[in-house]
């Protein structure tokens, strides 16, 4: 697939409130810019991220989705991030069978003190999706 000229991907990020959302806030505190392509949906725990939310994001025009969770072992709700990982792995396989590239969906661990990592992930995802071009859903 070739990238569309001047294409700006739309990305939905599901951020757990205790670590990743706090990490995104920390990135804000340092006031270093990153691309505006990510729209954040705050959830209490990454374990709340229903695969249907991701499908819904793609169906409504998202070109990419990121789930951001606490690091393994750090989950505020003990093991919600492990559940998120299990569901993510399953969903990746399902999406591939529908022809949706696995690069369009990411699961990343971002702690409350990792604003810089959050910024890096947004940069990486935007540039990877720019390369990948807009999502074309199968008929």
């Amino acid at each position: 697939m070739t990238a569309a000229q001047g294409f700006e991907p739309r990305i939905i990020g599901f951020l757990c409130t205790w670590c990743s959302y706090a990490g995104a806030d920390q990135a804000g505190g340092s006031q270093k810019p990153y691309p505006p392509n990510l729209s954040v949906v705050r959830v209490m725990c990454s374990g709340r991220v229903d695969p249907q939310f991701i499908l819904s994001a793609f169906a409504n025009g998202a070109d990419g989705v990121i789930i951001m969770a606490c690091h393994p072992g750090d989950c505020h709700y003990k093991e919600g991030n492990c559940r998120a990982l299990q569901r993510y792995s399953m969903l990746c396989r399902v999406l591939e069978t529908f022809g949706i590239e696995k690069e369009r969906i990411r699961l990343e661990y971002v702690s409350a003190s990792e604003g810089e990592i959050f910024r890096r992930i947004v940069h990486e995802t935007v540039s990877s999706l720019r390369g990948l071009g807009p999502l074309v859903l199968p008929d």
Binding site: A24, D25, A27, G29, S39, C45, S56, G61, H76
Partner: protein, 650 residues
């Protein structure tokens, strides 16, 4: 639906990057054409008042505040909603500061992103429902399991605060492990003396009547939940009345039957009716049924006949009893044990009688131990050289991967006591790392270093060491090819949870970590709470720890109980919880397996899962797991989140 959008300019912090009038313009095209009000510093005292007045005047059905992070001020603005007579859960915040204005270079892009985010919030807030905090009556009484340092400290703190406490202790005596020791690190204090004030208060203190002590008792069953646990306790018969016995020991003298005493290293006899050891509290003997000659069918009432307090003090036919208690919280203080050093091959434990583990040596040092405090070999001779081997199974993936943090310190107490009681005895410490944390630990180590009869030999791996016997009956410690002989070897194995922890974990359905310690809610911020609400952790059942830490954690667990289960017996239940729609539940029980808080049970008569709102912490994992879509996560419903996604992408 009347929706009010409030945009905070946060001084010029936001308006510098985001064009606020464009937001108002864009909002006109949103569904329901919400009104947009711009305010400055809504979080300030003035701002809050203005915001509340505006809400009161306009009475919007739903409210969106576009400002800073909800982590900063969601609670503040929810309070404003309440003050204005609106339900606080009809508010949605949009983080246009930390996640937009401060991180977006191009003002047009920032404005556009803010509009998109507000559109998502408007879509979401329309589906938000008013939620109310529920209240539940609770029982303020507390069950403490374990009467060691942590359990006693917790029980007494609770009693001091006026709570009724039941203390369950598996053994016939209180004081835990250290009551059996002699001197303690770091200050060489006498262990029973240090514990005596607590034991005295527990047994005869001013809280008599509010603290109930059940010795020889164990947890049998627990039902219910935080605030309302029903506890069944099985208490073995002591056969001697705790209240009437004066501890004179006449029955012990008269008793004809004997066995080996486990509390004196199993090397000294005790009578069938006897004290665990001299000075064990409560000072009331215990009749061991299987040692008593009556267990062999013989008729004997020698103890009963001789008791100076009358024939009712000893009840030879006393049955075990089952007791029921109703409590609001449970503190686990089940204490520590010692890893079996005989599992570490080559150390000679269980092979040579003069190889002791540290608990056995503690007993030897104690005046209530098997040798009345004398350091002597199994042959009755005075040792002239003693080896102390640190880290026997610690920091070792084949045994226990962790450092217990206390062994080096008690090893130096051993050094001090051996040198004091047997001056001139050669002592060799075989060690890997030396762990001496805190402001006091170094002094005993320094004392050992300056002791001319003490040697330090560092080893890399326990496989480099071996304990064998010499031809003349001594022990030989081989360390990387070098040989040290000794009359006695003391092994310092890792601290592990006490043997009862597994059973308690299965009764309470709480988790243990890979080393068997009870899992805490959070290792740093909430180490005194278990993940199950209402069950707290104190002492070495949670992590290897010294007496000071155990006592502090006992206080911490008591503090948690006092803060949460308030007098008057009411607890608030947060409304952000999950709820099962019985009619849609297929009964697969996947939700039960993913809930980290044991909040979900299966109701067999309804053939559906049921969520206890008191135990639920609102993570929503079960909601995402339910294949039937039968679980609703209040305030984070699938409809609300999907609406937000659509709003962000439309």
């Amino acid at each position: 639906m009347k929706i009010g959008i409030y945009v905070c300019t946060c001084g010029s912090t936001l308006s510098r990057t985001i064009d606020v009038p464009s937001i108002a313009q864009a909002a006109l095209s949103f569904p329901d054409s919400p009104s947009v009000t711009t305010m400055d510093f809504i979080c300030s005292e003035n701002g809050r008042r203005q915001f509340e007045d505006h809400l009161k005047q306009e009475q919007p059905e739903r409210v969106v505040v576009a400002a800073c992070s909800p982590r900063d001020h969601e609670t503040t603005f929810r309070r404003c909603m309440t003050n204005a007579g609106l339900n606080p859960y009809l508010l949605q915040m949009v983080n246009i500061r930390e996640q937009i204005a401060w991180v977006t270079e191009d003002p047009d892009a920032a404005t556009e992103k803010a509009i998109v985010a507000i559109r998502g919030a408007v879509n979401r807030v329309k589906l938000q429902q008013p939620l109310e905090k529920m209240q539940c009556e609770i029982c303020p009484d507390v069950l403490v399991i374990g009467a060691g340092p942590a359990g006693m400290k917790a029980a007494l703190a609770l009693a001091e605060a006026g709570r009724t406490v039941t203390v369950v202790e598996r053994l016939p005596f209180i004081g835990g492990l250290p009551v059996r020791f002699d001197e303690l690190f770091p200050a060489c204090e006498c262990a029973p003396c240090l514990l005596d004030p607590l034991m005295g208060d527990l047994l005869h203190g001013e809280f008599d009547g509010t603290v109930e002590l059940l010795t020889m008792a164990e947890l049998a069953e627990v039902t219910g939940f935080y605030g309302a646990f029903n506890v069944t306790i099985r208490q073995r018969a002591r056969h001697v009345s705790l209240h009437e016995c004066i501890g004179c020991g006449a029955c012990v003298e008269a008793c004809p039957a004997a066995t080996m005493n486990e509390f004196r290293n199993g090397t000294v006899e005790r009578k069938a009716i006897d004290f665990a050891f001299a000075g064990a509290l409560p000072s009331v003997p215990t009749l061991m049924e299987d040692t008593c000659v009556r267990s062999r069918g013989e008729e004997c009432q020698a103890c009963k006949d001789i008791c100076p307090m009358g024939r009712d003090v000893i009840d030879l036919d006393q049955p075990d009893s089952i007791l029921e208690r109703h409590v609001g919280a449970i503190i686990l203080a089940t204490g520590a044990g010692l890893y079996d050093a005989s599992l570490v091959t080559g150390m000679g434990k269980g092979v040579f009688s003069d190889v002791y583990d540290s608990c056995e040596f503690e007993r030897m040092l104690s005046s209530t131990g098997p040798t009345d405090g004398q350091i002597i070999t199994s042959r009755g001779t005075t040792p002239s050289s003693i080896a102390i081997i640190h880290c026997v199974g610690s920091l070792d993936p084949e045994h226990k991967p962790y450092c217990s943090g206390i062994c080096c310190q008690y090893a130096f107490i051993f050094n001090h006591l051996i040198s004091d009681r047997l001056p001139g005895t050669a002592i060799t410490h075989f060690h890997r790392e030396l762990v001496l944390p805190g402001k006091e630990a170094h002094s005993l180590a320094q004392q050992a270093r300056h002791n001319q009869n003490t040697r330090f030999v560092r080893y890399e791996s326990i496989h480099d060491l071996a304990v064998t016997a010499t031809d003349d009956g001594k022990l030989a410690i081989h360390a990387s090819g070098k040989l040290t002989t000794g009359d006695m070897v003391i092994l310092c194995p890792p601290v592990i949870p006490s043997s009862g922890a597994g059973k308690i974990a299965s009764i309470l359905d709480i988790k243990r970590d890979q080393s068997g310690f009870f899992r805490e809610l959070h290792g740093r911020t909430d180490a005194a709470q278990s993940p199950v609400r209402g069950i707290y952790l104190a002492g070495a059942c949670q992590d290897p720890m010294d007496i000071r830490s155990a006592m502090l954690q006992g206080m911490a667990s008591a503090g948690h109980v006092l803060a949460a289960l308030k007098p008057g017996g009411i607890i608030d239940i947060e409304p952000i919880t999950a709820e099962v729609d019985e009619t849609r539940c297929s009964g697969c029980r996947l939700c039960i397996s993913v809930c980290p808080y044991r909040a979900i049970t299966f109701n067999h008569s309804h053939n559906a899962s049921e969520i206890n709102a008191i135990l639920c912490r609102g993570c929503g994992t079960c909601v995402a797991a339910c294949p039937a879509g039968a679980i609703k996560g209040h305030h984070f419903t699938s409809d609300q989140i999907t609406a937000e996604i659509k709003g962000l992408l439309s």
